[in-house]
């Protein structure tokens, strides 16, 4: 960038590297011996020369027989110099050139010795994945299979916990359940209202553009009514709850895993499935249909606003048309769907929380995975429902 005083820094003179006040000179003596003269102020802030550039200069000519270091003019130093000297030593050792550090400041000598005497821990060198592509592909596939098996196991454990719940034998705190119900029920009303209202408005506008062309604006009411009740009410609440509650479940349980709170439950003989998953699952199964019903209503209200204000329909006619269009079966279908979405959100959130690794990073990852997987499952389930309802003729 603005070069200024550092402009000469990147030049590669044959036998010297200069940057700021720090300087490395190679002085070739007779008999193939080279003295590395180090002088000036060595500080990390000023950057550091790569040992390899000096190494290259060292070995550019005839290979030196002996390398030594001269630090008489050294003014100040920090770990940049240590790193440089250790690197230089490595280069010389690799080329079997005798390397002599000479008389360094006492502290410097000790630190270099520390850096060099500790044997490299073989276990510490993580194995870099050098497997061929096919092997890695296979391993990735096996991981996917493992994950799928684990998820199915998780569903099984949840089912067992439910069986205990039905028999009245499950261990959970009623106060927890009520708290979660409040959290994923009434506390979600605000955002569900806003989103549902806007969806109603959008549906109404979308329909109005087409329907007005042949004077059938009144059918906007049916369109919004059926659209909200059959699909959008359940879908939008599910997506809101996946982002809101599913993420919260994963983060809560993930953190509890990291802090060993889940282990503490297990070793106390309290099943985390019953104590943690069950209340969350029940809360969502109970609240999702209620939220969905509410969302249907608010969405229709949004549509009505467009109908009355923009299309000039009377509220009365709009309302009648809506009531006329909505069937009980469609309404029930939407509510059933929302309960199923609730199960999916709770499953994804709790599963990701339990599968969370042991770090704060893993909690973040679990939260993301919970939201993504629950939304994917919701959309897939929605598609399956559409096919199913079509076959059933609903």
């Amino acid at each position: 960038m603005s070069a200024g005083g550092h402009a000469n820094a990147n030049q590669q003179p044959q036998l010297a590297t200069v940057r700021g006040t720090r300087q490395v000179d190679l002085v070739r003596g007779d008999g193939g011996s080279v003295v590395v003269r180090i002088s000036g102020d060595w500080h990390l802030q000023h950057g550091m020369p790569t040992p390899s550039s000096v190494g290259a200069a060292l070995t550019s000519g005839p290979l030196p027989q002996h390398v030594s270091v001269d630090t008489r003019d050294l003014k100040g130093w920090d770990s940049s110099l240590i790193s440089f000297l250790v690197g230089l030593d490595d280069i010389c050792r690799a080329r079997k050139i005798p390397f002599e550090r000479g008389s360094l400041p006492a502290g410097l000598t000790r630190l270099i010795e520390l850096a060099e005497t500790v044997p490299e821990n073989k276990d510490a060198q993580l194995k870099v994945d050098q497997d061929p592509f096919v092997a890695r592909l296979g391993a990735a596939y096996m991981r996917q299979v493992d994950d799928a098996v684990k998820f199915v196991e998780f569903i099984g454990m949840v089912a067992l916990a439910f069986a205990n719940f039905v028999r009245g034998r499950s261990r959970y705190r009623r106060s927890d359940l009520l708290e979660i119900i409040q959290e994923c029920g009434s506390n979600a009303l605000g955002i569900v209202s806003l989103i549902s209202y806007m969806v109603g408005v959008i549906l109404a506008f979308m329909g109005a553009v087409q329907l007005e062309e042949f004077g059938a604006a009144i059918y906007v009411a049916s369109l919004v009514g059926i659209g909200m009740v059959r699909e959008m009410g359940a879908m939008m609440t599910a997506i809101i709850m996946a982002g809101r509650t599913g993420a919260a479940f994963a983060a809560e349980l993930g953190t509890m895993k990291v802090t060993q709170e889940i282990d503490a439950l297990t070793t106390m003989g309290i099943s985390p499935m019953e104590f943690l998953v069950l209340p969350r699952m029940i809360a969502l199964i109970l609240m999702m249909p209620l939220l969905c019903l509410y969302s249907d209503f608010v969405g229709i209200l949004g549509g009505a606003t467009v109908g009355v204000v923009v299309l000039g329909l009377s509220f009365r006619t709009y309302w009648h048309e809506t009531i006329h269009a909505i069937t009980m079966v469609a309404l029930a279908g939407g509510l059933i769907k929302s309960a199923v979405y609730g199960v999916l959100i709770a499953l994804a959130g709790c599963y990701q929380g339990f599968e969370c690794g042991n770090s704060s990073l893993a909690v973040g990852r679990a939260t993301t995975a919970a939201v993504v997987s629950s939304i994917v499952m919701i959309v897939v389930a929605c598609g399956l429902f559409a096919v199913l309802f079509n076959i059933l003729g609903i």
Binding site: M256, T259, Q260, E261, D263, T266, T267, M268, G269
Partner: protein, 282 residues
Amino acid sequence: MRETGGGGGTAGNGALVSRAAPDADRAAHIEVRNLTMAYGDFVVMRDLNFKVRHREIFVIMGASGSGKSTLLRYLLGLLEPTIGEIFYDGVNFTQAAPEEREAMLRRFGVLYQSGALWSSMTLAENIGLPLGQFTNLSAAEISEVAALKLALVGLKGFEDYYPSQISGGMQKRAGLARAIALDPAILFFDEPSAGLDPVSSRLLDELILALRDSLGATVVVVSHELPSIFAIADNSVYLDAVTHTIIANGNPHELLAHSTEPRVREFLTRGRPGENSEKANG
């Protein structure tokens, strides 16, 4: 300096030995047979065999990363052994049916490294939870017992605090109060002194000794804190990260005096042994 430290320790040890001596041949409370601990293909420890007698304070020692806490997770059934079995009072814990195992777990009290208090509950609720789940006590009785347990660990008056509102040392003590909520037969401690100042750490050691004496519980401690090990341990095993198995089993004072294993001596002397362990390590 070393002389006085060793002398004091030996005296304390003498007292412990004499107390434990009359029933030295008591049946094993915990027995580990041929346990192999592994993560996938990576074997952490193999062929672990040891016994813990009733009312004994048993320390699992070892360098950092040798698998001490992992061994504890196996003992608690949080990990399933690939090979080997664990017995409690002669009952096979590893192969126990889920209900049987749950009943056995109820006799355990565990203090986790960070306390692992349930952060959404107050201290009283933390201690009250197992009481509410496994006893027929009324709510009033539960809060009374919870207050008592908190008082035992020096946290009287902190009933309505949440774990995040108290210090790390207090969280640990509260975790201990929860661990002893059901008057367990076996208490497990995962690095009890980790993160504590020297005084709190010594107080916790004394609390462990007092609990063993008063509750009559068997105590299993994972630790690498030498002062704590010498102060409380009746018996111990040393997990060796090099050979991946137990290389010493016995009272730490006796191990210090007689063990010929260089790495055990090195561990027990903070790496400043009188003799050849340096060379053995190099």
